[in-house]
């Protein structure tokens, strides 16, 4: 079954286009990452899925309910959890009171279990919460009624690295339990750790829809290396290295080839310092979908398949 089905979804705010004829679907039991730079239309899509915005054109279905049909969507929401990007809790109330309120309407079968993993100070008023505590309260709230589908907008923003790791672990466990998870992010490493598939959004359009593996293979690694002696990009560059740029005392490049080959190659040099990491998301876009953007903006009906070619 399909948990989320988005069909030609368009949302305009007057002249401004939020999302532009977006189509994709999320399978039941899948962890789907919705990736894109800020302002790409991720939040607009998510808020449309929850019926907070009404589509200008096209539609979407969540757990079978058309987002334009309020009654059907309310029924579906019993089985949906939502974690918004900007958490609006009532600051004058305690975390416990807020959870009690949500529980009185949607239930809280898993509350105790979740509070062992994510432990905001429930007895304190939310005004005194740190961003991380507020985020944890949001996570508990989103999962406590044991939903089939959880929709989250930038779920880890504000969490410290330790809690982020715990959250990723938790999402993997949720996947094992069969929960469908749909979340937006602008951090590639987060998406690669937990997602089965990703959709990449740019300027309101879906520019890629891929397995995480495929995306990562295309993404490569960003390598910064400092060598003994002078190095010029021309002399150093070898197969699999793109976008080679000089940096202080060395070079920076994106590597898309075999890792063993890179290590062998570097072993022949006198390496002072090396840093291998994830390329910034923008770079992945630029290098691997750059042409696609051009083609997309020229054609009236974009086809994401064209990008895979």
């Amino acid at each position: 079954m399909v948990a989320i089905e988005v069909t030609d979804l368009t949302k305009r705010y007057g002249e401004v286009i939020g999302v532009d004829s977006l189509s994709f679907s999320v399978e039941e039991g899948e962890v789907f990452g919705f990736l894109g730079p800020n302002g790409a239309g991720k939040t607009t899509t998510i808020r449309t899925l929850l019926g907070l915005l009404s589509p200008t054109d096209g539609t979407a279905r969540v757990l079978g309910a058309d987002v334009r049909d309020e009654a059907a969507l309310i029924e579906a929401k019993r089985r949906i959890g939502y974690l918004p990007a900007d958490l609006g809790f009532d600051e004058g109330l305690t975390g416990k009171r807020v959870l009690d309120h949500h529980a009185s309407i949607k239930g809280d079968a898993r509350r105790t279990e979740l509070l062992e993993l994510f432990d905001p100070p429930l007895e304190r008023v939310i005004r005194e919460y740190s961003t991380g505590n507020e985020r944890m309260l949001g996570i508990v709230q989103a999962f406590m009624h044991d939903p089939e589908l959880v929709i989250m907008d930038e779920p880890t923003s504000g969490l410290d690295p330790l809690k982020q790791e715990r959250f990723h672990e938790f999402i993997r466990a949720e996947r094992e339990r069969g929960t469908t998870v749909f979340f937006s992010s602008h951090v590639l490493s987060e998406v690669r750790q937990v997602c089965d598939r990703v959709g990449i959004l740019r300027e309101g359009r879906l520019v890629a829809l891929e397995d995480v593996e495929t995306l990562l293979n295309r993404g490569g690694k960003r390598v910064q290396v400092r060598l003994v002696g002078e190095t010029s990009p021309e002399k150093f560059v070898t197969e699999g290295m793109v976008d080679v740029e000089p940096i202080a005392g060395g070079l920076q490049f994106t590597y898309t080839g075999e890792y063993n080959a890179l290590l062998d190659y570097l072993a022949d040099h006198d390496v002072l310092d090396i840093d291998i990491g994830e390329p910034p998301l923008e770079d992945v876009f630029m290098h691997y979908y750059g042409d696609g953007f051009e083609r997309e903006s020229e054609s009236a009906t974009p086809k994401t398949e064209a990008l895979d070619a």
């Binding site: 705010y13 808020r47 929850l50 019926g51 907070l52 915005l53 009404s54 309020e70 009654a71 309310i74 029924e75 929401k77 019993r78 949906i80 959890g81 939502y82 918004p84 900007d86 958490l87 609006g88 809790f89 009532d90 004058g92 109330l93 009171r97 309120h101 949500h102 009185s104 309407i105 949607k106 709230q141």
Partner: protein
């Protein structure tokens, strides 16, 4: 049912208690002031008769020489009709707009609840401070009046409070409409205050200007007259029904607007 209303009430509990205590004390102060006015060697009513009719109308001044007339002017025309009318319009104007502005509406509407239910329950939550204020101040006034060796018809006193409920709900409903129409909460609240105040003035002016009399019918203050209740013992049930009907119509209007609107754009 009513989980949202209960939650809203709880959020406003401290404000409700403060308001009830504050106005209760204010009412007692007014009552305590009456004996010195009563015993003063001035014909206060003769002085009042010299006031312009519009002022007399605005503050429902019939007489200040009886406790009923005094209470009607000082507490009910001024505090109840004007101040509380403004307060509930202001308060209601924040019900939806505040939540949308502070990103709270997203979480509320992620719950399996309809927008109509959110709107209706939020509006209903206004009833708690309205009823609490009426109960506390009615008791304070009654006890205060007995304490200064005066007497007041308990039925009239009860009616002046009971019939204020539809009036205050109507003021709240005006605020609610603005709350869904205007996206910035502080603007919605300011317009609500201004509007209710203008309606109050319109009624006062139109009552003393014949050709504008029809205009007074749009003002909620036309349908609730504390002076008539306390001084003459006449109860305007039709007016109360009109106010309730208007409140319902305004809530339906707000619902129509809110159910189709994009949240927070």
């Amino acid at each position: 049912m009513l989980e949202i209303a209960r939650y809203e009430t709880e959020k406003r509990r401290r404000g409700t208690v403060a308001l009830a205590v504050g106005i209760g004390v204010l009412a007692l102060v007014f009552v305590a002031f009456f004996p010195s006015l009563d015993s003063a060697d001035v014909d206060i009513d003769a002085m009042l008769a010299a006031y312009p009719p519009a002022i007399q109308e605005a503050f429902g001044i019939a007489t200040l020489s009886t406790i009923e007339g005094f209470l009607a002017v000082e507490i009910y025309q001024f505090v109840w009709l004007l101040l509380l009318g403004l307060y509930f319009a202001y308060s209601a104007a924040g019900l939806i707009a505040d939540d949308v502005e502070r990103d709270r509406m997203d979480l509320t509407l992620s719950l399996p609840v309809s927008r109509s239910r959110v709107l209706a329950e939020k509006f209903l939550s206004l009833l708690v401070p309205i009823l609490a204020l009426n109960a506390v101040v009615a008791a304070a006034v009654y006890v205060g009046v007995l304490a200064i060796d005066q007497s007041i018809d308990p039925l009239d006193l009860a009616m002046v409070h009971a019939l204020s409920v539809p009036y205050l709900l109507a003021c709240g409903a005006i605020g609610l409409v603005l709350s869904v129409l205007v996206s910035r909460a502080d603007v919605a609240k300011r317009i609500a205050i201004a509007l209710v105040f203008v309606l109050f003035l319109v009624e006062s002016v139109s009552a003393s200007t014949e050709e504008l009399e029809w205009l007074g019918y749009v003002s909620p203050t036309r349908y609730y007259d504390p002076t008539a209740i306390l001084v003459e013992g006449s109860y305007d049930f039709v007016g109360a029904a009109v106010l309730l009907g208007a409140a319902v119509a305004l809530v339906l209007l707000a619902r129509f607007r809110f159910s189709g609107a994009d949240i927070g754009t």
